[in-house]
Symmetry: C2
């Protein structure tokens, strides 16, 4: 990277961090757990959110902020499940930034327990941008292969959870979930790992229970 | 994007284009067809190159430049097939640039027919950077879903070929290849589309024949 580019980048990351910290504190004060979902395109972020609408939303108020380069498609899928959703269309930008979340802040529902942010489908750039989340989850879908962790380390280094998705496809693939787990924990021993299939409803109840628990910790100041 | 950032970006893209044009002309002069493979992580770029080693290399000299954020894993896979391969490790950068390719230029084999560049696994940022290729191919794997084209338009707008990969998984997915084709051709009517499975050897011979044909056109100045 060139020097001028590096300086511009440092400034952007610094001011992003400040906005993110304000968002995180405000949401915590209102008892809202904010979850940032990051992954490559097509790893199953929107499908997971559709399942959260079925499994988490009946007992807890949830809302979703969708990020995409183009189209309102993902927000429409979430709204079809009866969940309030906002679409950020970046028009070319490869990641979300905290100021984009901040702009939507005023429109969030009064009663809210969980705010999910679905980041742009990109396993690299979004990892550098704190969005004010309390919990960062990186998804790797089984068809992407079991060699991804060390090739794209920052997303795994900065996350709290690893979600191995599309587990229903594992029988048709050369994919070893143990390799993924091992490499991920070598990079980041604090990662909580879940193996999920939104299509076949595998592992989702455990993930929901974990989210509910983390929100309780937020309320008591231990998150 | 901020103004200062925009100016820096414009400068980078401008100087990248110049270097790319030099690379393209030099390779054409030597009769080398250069192919830039772009996709999300885990769409099957390296597996496709392994199959090219089996199907294209016996009759044609090929070499591979691998791009990754971290690790030499992909170049090792290609070398294991007896194909010369260079790994560019960007250490965080989300795309390849022409100057990175230019640096490896002197080391390329004397006799060479096809130079493949496997870009960083990222469906967004690499699309803005001409690497001096004669043919740009974007891969979408069937498990990524059939809604990706319009969500990530630049990669499809700037490509010559669309490769729908992992076709062997389609029976286990909700995935309509016709939707992908239709949306891709709406964006870019010139796209040549191939449906491939490296795992089950589907469609690969057609793609190899197409590459050989394109190289002939290059030699006669019609590429």
């Amino acid at each position: 990277m060139e020097k001028k580019e590096l300086i511009v980048r440092e400034n952007i990351l610094g001011s992003n961090k400040k906005v993110a910290q304000e968002i995180r504190a405000k949401l915590a004060g209102r008892g809202v757990l904010c979850v940032n979902l990051m992954s490559a395109p097509g790893a199953g972020k929107t499908s997971l959110l559709e399942k959260m609408a079925e499994k988490l939303a009946p007992a807890h108020a949830m809302a979703v902020i969708e990020g995409d380069v183009e189209t309102e498609r993902d927000a429409e899928r979430i709204r079809a499940k009866g969940i309030p959703a906002w679409q950020i269309v970046t028009g070319g930008e490869c990641h979300l930034e905290a100021r984009m979340i901040g702009k939507l802040f005023g429109g969030l529902p009064e009663k809210l327990d969980f705010l999910f942010i679905e980041n742009i489908g990109n396993l690299i750039c979004p990892a550098s941008f704190d969005l004010g989340e309390h919990l960062r989850c990186v998804l790797v879908s089984s068809p992407e292969g079991d060699d991804k962790v060390k090739k794209y380390p920052e997303a795994f280094l900065t996350s709290d959870c690893l979600l191995i998705t599309k587990s229903d496809l594992i029988p048709y693939l050369i994919f070893d979930p143990e390799r993924v787990k091992k490499e991920a924990l070598e990079l980041n021993p604090k990662l909580r790992i879940f193996i999920l299939s939104s299509f076949k409803d595998q592992g989702l109840d455990d993930f929901v229970a974990f989210l509910v628990e983390r929100r309780k910790e937020l309320a008591t100041g231990h998150a």
